[in-house]
Symmetry: C3
Subunit: 141 residues, 3 copies
């Protein structure tokens, strides 16, 4: 039975949906020690989010960005929180819809993802900067 | 302190929202051994999702399907990822909105769900087939 | 290695998004005993939800309520589940979108939230009443 926890920053990303599986896994080599367990991935921000989706065709990521921009428009007349720019309140809303943490099973020293699954950082700000991540890993060694 | 992990397939479902609490629980009888703990339920796909909602009136599931079809339409002109059919990109978007994992407390050998809560498989493809699930259970025995 | 679990009710809230970090933390003083671990926060309802977002400017919470009311309207003509009032089916949909549980890392006896992050109870009913919460805490002491 073991617990490991790592806090680190992801490289700054452009606004959009980004595949970050390998960038995250390389920061947590302790995953290899766990035979059965889970990894919890948490983002310490309110205008960027985490999800899991297709790791192959990059147009999935483009279409997600297009969809969320359309369904959560900038400059909606009812926004009261608008002092930080037109991308700010939409970023908060997108974060609430997408979510700020992931729980992924670990099996035999690896994240037990489906063949087509990858971890996405969803950067909802135009200039979000480096995003802070906490990964907690626990399970049987 | 115990860890159990089971990977299995759910029976293929029609497109829509489906109550699967008993289909999942019967695959993980080890839940009964846990006095205090959690169950993590993870779906290894990017076009189907998991949520928790009302376990009683089936019209809730019908209305959820109607709502998501309306808010995530097929054939949006901006979709670039459309080689796998008009239901494919909407399925990816719906999965991102709904989410691909659940964390449920275990108390006294049972999932500690509210009276009206049930686990839903949300099948977003027209022909999604059998969906692969990983349930990880941990806690004090 | 420890497990703690507390089940309690939050004070009834008006329809809307509410900051409840301190109301939750005061019910689980055991968080202070954990050096590395996680807290799982679960709501036992299908018409209220949990999320994490900005803990500072209260207009973020107002704008979230406005956005969700617009994107999940009452009285949509396709709703079949409408015997419990016009706020009922929208509340189920909002709960599915926002989610019913949170997983937060614990580091050094504290929830390891970002500077601007707070826990929100999202009350989607007009008269939701006291909402039942289960917090499970585990980790190394």
């Amino acid at each position: 039975m073991a617990w490991y926890q790592k806090e680190f920053s992801l490289e700054p990303k452009l606004r959009g949906f980004h595949l970050v599986t390998s960038e995250i896994v390389k920061n947590v080599p302790e995953i290899k020690k766990i035979s059965i367990g889970v990894a919890y991935i948490f983002i310490k921000h309110t205008s960027a989010s985490l999800t899991i989706n297709e790791n192959a065709d990059p147009t999935v990521r483009l279409d997600l960005e297009s969809y969320f921009n359309k369904t959560v428009p900038e400059n909606s007349p009812f926004y009261k929180h608008n002092t930080e720019g037109p991308d700010d309140m939409p970023a908060h809303i997108k974060s609430v819809i997408v979510g700020n943490s992931l729980t992924i099973p670990i099996t035999g020293g690896r994240l037990n993802l489906g063949t087509w699954q990858g971890i996405y950082l969803c950067e909802h700000r135009n200039y979000g900067g480096a995003r802070r991540i906490v990964v907690t890993v626990t399970g049987e060694e």
